[in-house]
Symmetry: C2
Subunit: 445 residues, 2 copies
């Protein structure tokens, strides 16, 4: 698209020139329709193109450009090239958002909201949502909290950013993190001046027994479904983490990013229930509903509520009140539970299909971490990860290798594998995506 923009802005495409329909161009360039459509829309909005029913899209009579050259801004922020198939492990199925149920809740919430909902609100978030979350998290995740201990924020990243600033001042300079996890999350902590030290993980999750030797003020864990390796934290290690926190005056940060999606037995409750004063629970709607909502929450120990609010900024209620009120109604009326149940079935079906196709087409590849969540780990022969990821990307697959998640200081030997998110591809594209994936896998030795 950059080439197209340059051709137009530089005048190489003469005014009046008719461009192909964006759908056709998308096919020609092998780009997603939305990518091309947005590029067209932006060029039209900026006056470079004119779109008219019937006469199609044409290069506009030269509009006076802005003082600064358009193209600079665009080279600096290149449009994302959407892959044919998205296997990134952090994406849910964007096509499954329950639009009409959400709108029903939005209407009910907005019509019944008190006037003060439209004024400057409580920095903790709307009481309606904090009340609904208190009930839901207790019922669905075993979280023990209360509305005044919950702080609503703009998703997990916002919550971790806030905690980074709080812990930076509170518990000293070091946070233990799982040796495999999102570099993006580690960077939010280091960005707050904290040091992260890796904690080894295995099939039973993080080896919390090793916390004792790490001298950390806090530990960030994904107990329900270790991200990305996929093991649930074992019962002994859960109590181990809490005992460690009690003994050291430390805190556990519980990232419950996909705790609702467990397939083969009842969801494992949150570690927070073991000690609400030592465990900070972090949740969001990014996996359960949509990352576009930018809605997350912290269930905090009493002693940290004020510090969190101080960092968050009392005058900066980052999350729009309407989505908060809508989610409160969405939870209270049962629509949230229904949606989670529906998606659990959908994702489970996809997981089973992934496992079946691999068993048939690539029996030599071991699949793990599939008891829960939206992603699986495909173990690869040592030394083959890098080439396999590149081969997959050449086939238009967006996916990640285990190496992308490894803590640079990890004491564990590198493990070769693919992290396959099966949430994002819409149903109609799922089989095609699996075929393309199998073609990218290394053959049996």
């Amino acid at each position: 698209m950059q080439a197209l923009r340059d051709a137009i802005t530089s005048g190489r495409l003469a005014p009046g020139t008719r461009l192909p329909a964006y759908r056709a161009l998308a096919v020609d360039l092998g780009l997603a329709r939305n990518t091309v459509g947005e590029a067209y829309a932006e060029l039209v909005a900026e006056g470079w193109l004119t779109a008219r029913q019937g006469s199609g899209t044409r290069v506009a009579p030269r509009a006076t450009p802005l003082p600064a050259a358009e193209d600079r801004a665009h080279r600096s922020a290149p449009p994302v090239r959407s892959p044919a198939y998205d296997f990134m492990p952090t994406s849910p199925d964007a096509s499954a958002f329950p639009r009409s149920a959400w709108l029903t809740s939005a209407r009910r919430a907005l019509n019944s909201a008190p006037n003060d909902a439209f004024g400057v609100g409580d920095p903790r978030g709307r009481i309606e949502l904090r009340t609904a979350l208190t009930e839901y998290l207790a019922r669905a995740r075993g979280v023990r909290t209360a509305p005044h201990r919950i702080v609503v924020c703009a998703g997990f990243a916002h919550a971790l950013r806030i905690l980074g600033a709080v812990l930076g001042g509170e518990v000293g300079a070091t946070v233990a993190v799982e040796s495999y996890g999102l570099a993006f999350h580690r960077s939010l902590l280091t960005g707050a001046g904290l040091r992260t030290v890796p904690l080894a993980v295995d099939a039973d999750g993080a080896r919390t027994a090793e916390l004792g030797v790490l001298d950390a003020g806090a530990v960030l864990l994904t107990p329900a479904h270790q991200f990305p390796t996929g093991g649930p934290l074992s019962a002994r290690r859960r109590t181990g983490a809490v005992d460690w926190a009690r003994a050291n005056g430390s805190v556990v940060l519980e990232d419950d990013y996909d705790g609702e999606f467990r397939y083969d037995r009842e969801p494992v409750g949150a570690v927070q229930g073991l000690d609400p004063d030592r465990v900070i629970y972090l949740g969001s709607t990014s996996k359960s509903l949509s990352p576009a909502l930018r809605l997350g929450w912290l269930a905090l120990p009493d002693s940290l509520v004020d510090d969190v609010l101080a960092v968050k900024g009392a005058r900066e209620l980052w999350t729009g009140v309407f989505d908060q009120l809508t989610l409160a109604d969405f939870i209270a009326c049962g629509a949230y539970d229904r949606h989670v149940r529906l998606m659990r079935r959908t994702y489970r079906r996809r997981r089973d299909r992934l496992v079946a196709v691999l068993a048939e087409r690539a029996p030599h590849i071991e699949v793990s971490g599939i008891a829960a969540g939206l992603h699986a780990v495909l173990d690869l022969p040592p030394g083959t990860e890098h080439d396999t990821v590149r081969a997959a990307r050449r086939r238009g697959l967006a996916l990640a290798g285990l190496g992308d998640f490894r803590h640079p200081d990890s004491p564990m030997p590198p493990r070769d594998g693919l992290v396959i998110g099966f949430g994002a591809p819409p149903d109609h594209a799922f089989n095609g995506a699996l075929q393309a994936l199998c073609e990218a896998l290394p053959p049996a030795l």
Copy 2:
């Protein structure tokens, strides 16, 4: 409410005790209904109270409290005591939010949104909103920008916080600010490690001619309606600010917080139109629609877009996509213009009423800054501000004195006055509020 909570949590109120209806209690305590209602709701949610149709609200059979004492958290975060009348200059009329028109746009926007709207989005914000803003800001405010130069954020505070971090690295350590302004805005800049130096203001706005001697890398201005003193920046001073920025390689931060509300002539266009490469335009819906939306925008010079996105966080789309799409539709379908016109009439009527009542009841008090916006300045005899503010607060009026906005290093002699926001009180309460205000004013000498 703290007393009530303590009485219950400490067991001084026995289980089963019936409490008065919160409306009644609100009247007794002289608190806003919402304050009492929320406190009740919170106590119910926490299990301290039970609310049952017919049998009213009662103290619950002792629920097992959380490990940490409830009351600590509450003493630390005391409930805000809502005043009888809100004259704070930063609050619009929360009761005037166009609920049904907003819901209509929300339905249209959500139903027509592409699936990718529910995935992780463009950190600049949705293209639909940036396109709508480009057209609207050009038409209504004379802003010259383009969708790729706009970054959507969670309101003005978020935008200023981001710019503080960008400027901290970009243009050195000092930002000139108006000698009267919100301390909260100054603190966002100093929080980013910047130093603020005061620029004198008078009836023509900030004395931009004095920028030359300040050695600042940027200046934060409220050109449409100086906050709080109320003067519009004169034409000569507008060009003066831009010329200074060009000559020094500095930037102008234009806070257009209430530019749409001008009463006696056409709105003054934004300074940004004079030089889109030297002026950063900041706008939001906080005055025009509601601060609860948490929606704002930056119209940036090309050269700063990447830096702003880097600070904002590419993975942290702070603003919910639904409100962005809804606002885009709300602007495109003309509902935004209609609402602004309606509120302009409403606020103008209130301003005229304020002026009329003061002319009758307190002719010795001069009113200024009334050509635009949601607030006016009432000049007071030297030395009387502090006592007048206290007298007003005793009468249940929430209002601010000019002193609350004065830069600590301001070279100007202190000026005594009240800053009266006439936006917040709902229509039915406005006359009562004005009467209470007049009673609090010092008598003629």
